[in-house]
Amino acid sequence: MEQIPILKVGRCLLVSIQIDMHDKLAMALQDDLTQRLVETRARGVLIDISALDLVDSFIGRMLSNIAAMARVLDAQTVVVGMRPQVAITLVELGLTLTGIQTALDVDRGLALINRLIDADGEDGAGGAH
């Protein structure tokens, strides 16, 4: 069965979406990530979408849902690598990607996520937002 791999790197879960996802696969990724967050007690989720040539409302909603669920599970989400044409299209489509932090590439994304985790307190004790 198709599955998008989720890697644990330090305090983070790393996902790189490399294929044109159909909606069921996007839903499965959302569920898998939530489960892995609980299992690994990771504090961050980094989603690399540099290979995606489209983000429509469904994928946008999936990204927002992941960020919201991660937040509830005391983890920060950063989306990296959005292609310029995808960004232009998203804005015209009217999507705002609520609750999602973005960075240009994986390096900057990891740096951002680590800053966010540190600002939040190592054990999540400072999680008042």
């Binding site: 159909h22 040539d53 409302s57 469904f58």
Partner: protein, 136 residues
């Protein structure tokens, strides 16, 4: 207006939506759309293809290469035999949704197209036509 080429795809499963996206990508690239314009129209197609499944119970997509007064473009026609849209004006408003979505599909797709038409009758289904021209 002249239709140079048509292909028809079934739109019934989430995998079919991906196939529609790929065909629209190939067709807009072949006509010479810029990468931004390709992405806009593929995204519009994805939204309407999903509506065809979620609201129309599945249907068909006709993907056409067209020529009008020397301009080339791509026309997409999505047809279903579903329940139809009760109030098209309402369906075209940002944020209006009956399917639990974000309500961005119809108005967003219209913004991503040069021409956008909806024909629908209750109990008889819906036909959505999208056109985007190659920018000169």
């Amino acid at each position: 207006m002249q239709v140079e080429r048509t292909s028809t795809l079934e739109v019934r499963t989430p995998e079919d939506v991906v196939k529609v996206r790929q065909e629209v990508r190939n067709r807009t690239a072949a006509v010479g759309f810029s990468l931004v314009d390709q992405t806009k129209f593929v995204t519009a197609a994805s939204e309407i293809a999903r509506n065809t499944i979620d609201h129309g119970g599945g249907g068909r997509a006709h993907i056409e290469t067209i020529v009008r007064t020397g301009k080339r473009g791509v026309r997409l026609i999505f047809e279903d035999q579903g329940p139809g849209i009760a109030d098209i004006k309402l369906a075209m408003q940002d944020g209006y949704s009956t399917g639990g979505g974000l309500g961005m599909g119809m108005p967003g797709s219209k913004r991503l197209s040069n021409e956008f038409y909806v024909e629908s009758a209750l109990g008889k289904g819906t036909k959505v036509t999208l056109v985007r021209w190659k920018s000169s």
